[in-house]
Amino acid sequence: MASSDDCLPTISWPFAADWLSRRRFLKGLLASGVGACGLSAAAPAGAGAAPNPGTDTVLVVLNLGGGNDGLNMLVPTGDGAYYDRRGGLAITPSAALDVGGGWGLHPSLPKLWRRWRDAGVAAVVGVGDTAGALSHFQAGTSWACGSADGRPALTGWLGRWLDDQPLRSPFEALTLSPQVGLELRGQHRSATSLGVDAAHAFLVDDQDRGTQHFSSAVGALGTAPTGLGELADAWGAQATAYVAQLPVVRGLVGRPLAAGLAGPLTLAARIINARLGTRVISYGYLNAAFDTHVDQAPRQSALLGAVDDAIAAFYAALDPVHASRVAILTVSEFGRRVTTNNGEGTDHGTASTLLLVSPSVNPGVQGEAPPLRNLDSDGNLKVTTDFRNVYATIIDRWLGGDGSGVVGRSYADLRLFA
């Protein structure tokens, strides 16, 4: 249940009239921050289509970096081949949290299990890169880019989706990680980063006239091209955006957040509650933590336990009125090798399982499980659903947009949403 503390009043966004002309020189890297922000003025003409901050769908993307072992997250408890190959790392049928159909969740996901039984979880099995590499960086870049037409990885799938959206709010796409990842960078637009302590800078004290004057000077650094190239312009735009966004950010993070993954997901819920026009929120959970070459059993238990707690914390903070318009998607650059490397860990693999959490999903196990007795020449699962197909479905059926245009190929609807 959401506490009233996590619900902020509706805020409408004013935009400077020269927004679009400024936007050109900024190359869109940080365009979303330009323009003076206030909390009460009405939106002037030229601000794009009016947002529907109370009804638009929202996608929360949680990146389980390092290569999450889908086989141990959603366990094929009915498949003897899994037990033959996984040995001591296998999750026994009695330990797994049964979801029927020969599947069970990892025992560290009890709260997600309850949500599953309430028809609030879809798990898409066999998802990977059909032209996949086993390198973290190649695969991670491929997943972030999300294009099927071989274009250079200069933009990301959510960035290209954002490119196509009318400019409505500086908070339309957000990352809660310190850096804006490739997946959120488009050709013209890019996400805004809201680190969880972004409001604690010295610029915030707006009671002091000298500080206010200083903040204005910092905010003016990005109001015209510097003549020093795109990077310098992008920095200036960031300075301007930072100063403009401070009042709102302070309202969001001014109250304490839990440590670990629950903190950013609680913040995500507050952002949705605040109706800022946010459509996409992304967070990368620890660097490569899921790269469980060694000590997999205790590490995966702890990691999935944190995911379980964080999703619960998200729904605890989220005003229930928004629940049906929010979906959480987990991604990871690849799954792991079917056979353990030494009984204690697993090497880089291919296909894995994605979770899509929302009351609006088509619940249960989706997609086609790759056969565990028919692996590729490296001993890996054969991908049955290309990850770009998942992206295209999410854009077409959830965010709204041109899925095939974003990923550069037409795919069938995976029927992930109810």
């Binding site: 590499a133 310190p178 800078a201 000298g210 510097t226 003549g227 020093l228 070459h293 490397n341």
Partner: protein
């Protein structure tokens, strides 16, 4: 022919760390090859006393901060900053992170290797760091055994540290992983080869079928069939670190050839890089943002504030970069990776603190009294900005004109300059 001042300034910033505009005068009378020779010929600074790593509080974090502060102090004070700059490059190339290595002594030993061989032969450097505890632990080779192959070390060695992705096949990774079995760490925490855990059976690696041991794989990659790819890959990484990312293929081919011709001598590669006209192009001049560490070092060199005063252990984490704690085996991001509200916030806090300390030391003290002719230009020059953006200088002048005299005026002036786009350019 004397070298243009702006080229000398650019070269010193990229080969070192930048600083006040007055430091470059003695080099401008020389031609470019002589300037480059002076920079590359600077003697490696001795390590009289390393950081004290015994009984450091706060575990691995404390040890990382201890080494970091020691290292950054050297960057600030060095008379031969090329050695610090290149050690920093190798730290982001042969990546290890102290939280996973879990042994300050091993991280320190690796750091010394990065210094000892950093401007020497690449084969010596690669050989030293791959038969050393830190990298083997960081990439799980300590659990790569005959009965339990772990590919992590072998893959990253080929992909990131030597040949580069796309120049070998998955079967080569598997062969390399088998070859590196048994290369781990002994009870004393140092590198040790365990023959009983090693796979002595033959494998095919880069087309050659025979029995392979780990160091022989490295030799094949650096001196044998993999050498052209390794030369190009390392040249690309070093160029990207010093000039701009994604260099043109013709440039990569040329640098790779120069590196090969010099038997992979790193100083020769650096000389080739510093003598390329592209290194002085606008693409290069505007092609790199300062990393947080660069930002701190430039700020301290410009103001004379000392490392002991700024307490980076409390203040650098929010900028997104802590030495000895790289985010992953790929090292730190570049450029756009440092532009976000969070990292802006981190730099703003540091700028505020450094400006406060600098004002206390009397830097730009006359800014407190109000209108002073040329103050904006002089203040920019104090921070090494000799060709400011017209937008920036106009903004600083406008702020100065409206800011009443007072003790906070120098502080705010310096904080503002440290947040300008101009100061973020490397």
């Amino acid at each position: 022919m004397p070298t243009a001042l702006r080229h000398v300034v650019h070269l010193l910033r990229r080969s070192g760390f930048g600083g006040p505009a007055g430091e470059v005068g003695h080099l401008t009378g020389l031609d470019l090859p002589s300037v480059v020779d002076q920079i590359l010929g600077a003697a490696a600074p001795p390590i009289e006393a390393g950081p004290r790593l015994m009984d450091v509080p706060y575990g691995m974090w404390g040890a990382a901060m201890t080494v970091q502060n020691w290292w950054i102090a050297r960057m600030v004070n060095s008379q031969s900053p090329i050695h610090e700059r290149i050690a920093l490059f190798w730290h982001g190339h042969f990546v290890s992170a102290i939280d996973k290595v879990d042994d300050p002594a091993a991280m320190w030993a690796q750091h010394l290797n990065l210094r000892r061989y950093g401007l020497g032969r690449f084969s010596d450097l690669a050989s030293a760091v791959t038969t050393d505890a830190a990298l083997l632990r960081y990439l799980d080779n300590t659990s790569n055994r005959l009965d339990a192959i772990n590919e992590n070390f072998a893959r990253e060695l080929l992909e990131l540290m030597t040949m580069g992705v796309g120049t070998y096949r998955q079967a080569d990774v598997v062969a390399a992983a088998h070859a590196w079995t048994g290369h781990g760490v002994g009870a004393d925490g140092r590198y040790q080869f365990h023959p009983d855990a090693h796979d002595f059976s033959p494998f095919t690696f880069l087309g050659s079928t025979r029995t392979w041991n780990g160091p022989q794989i490295l030799d094949e990659v650096v001196n044998g069939a993999g050498r052209p790819a390794t030369a190009r890959h390392v040249a690309t990484r070093l160029w990207s670190f010093l000039a701009y990312p994604n260099p043109e293929p013709t440039l990569v081919a040329s640098l790779g050839a120069a590196f090969m011709a010099a038997d992979l001598d790193i100083t020769a590669l650096l000389r080739a890089i510093f003598l390329r006209p592209e290194f002085y192009s606008d693409r290069a001049r505007y092609g790199l943002l300062r990393t947080p560490v660069d930002f701190v070092v430039a700020a301290l060199r410009s103001t004379g504030v000392t490392l002991d005063e700024v307490h980076l252990e409390w203040n650098i984490e929010k900028t997104g970069q802590c030495l000895l704690l790289p985010p992953n085996v790929g090292g730190w991001p570049q450029n756009e990776g440092w532009i976000s509200a969070s990292t802006f916030n981190g730099r703003a806090q540091l700028a505020s603190m450094i400006a406060t300390l600098a004002a206390r030391h009397g830097v730009l003290a006359d800014a407190a009294t109000g209108a002073v002719a040329g103050m904006a230009d002089r203040a920019m020059a104090t921070f090494g900005i000799t060709e400011p953006s017209p937008v920036t200088i106009a903004g600083v002048q406008a702020w100065l004109a409206a800011e009443p005299p007072g003790p906070l005026r120098p502080t705010r002036l310096m904080a503002l300059i440290m947040l300008t786009p101009d100061f973020q350019l490397a």
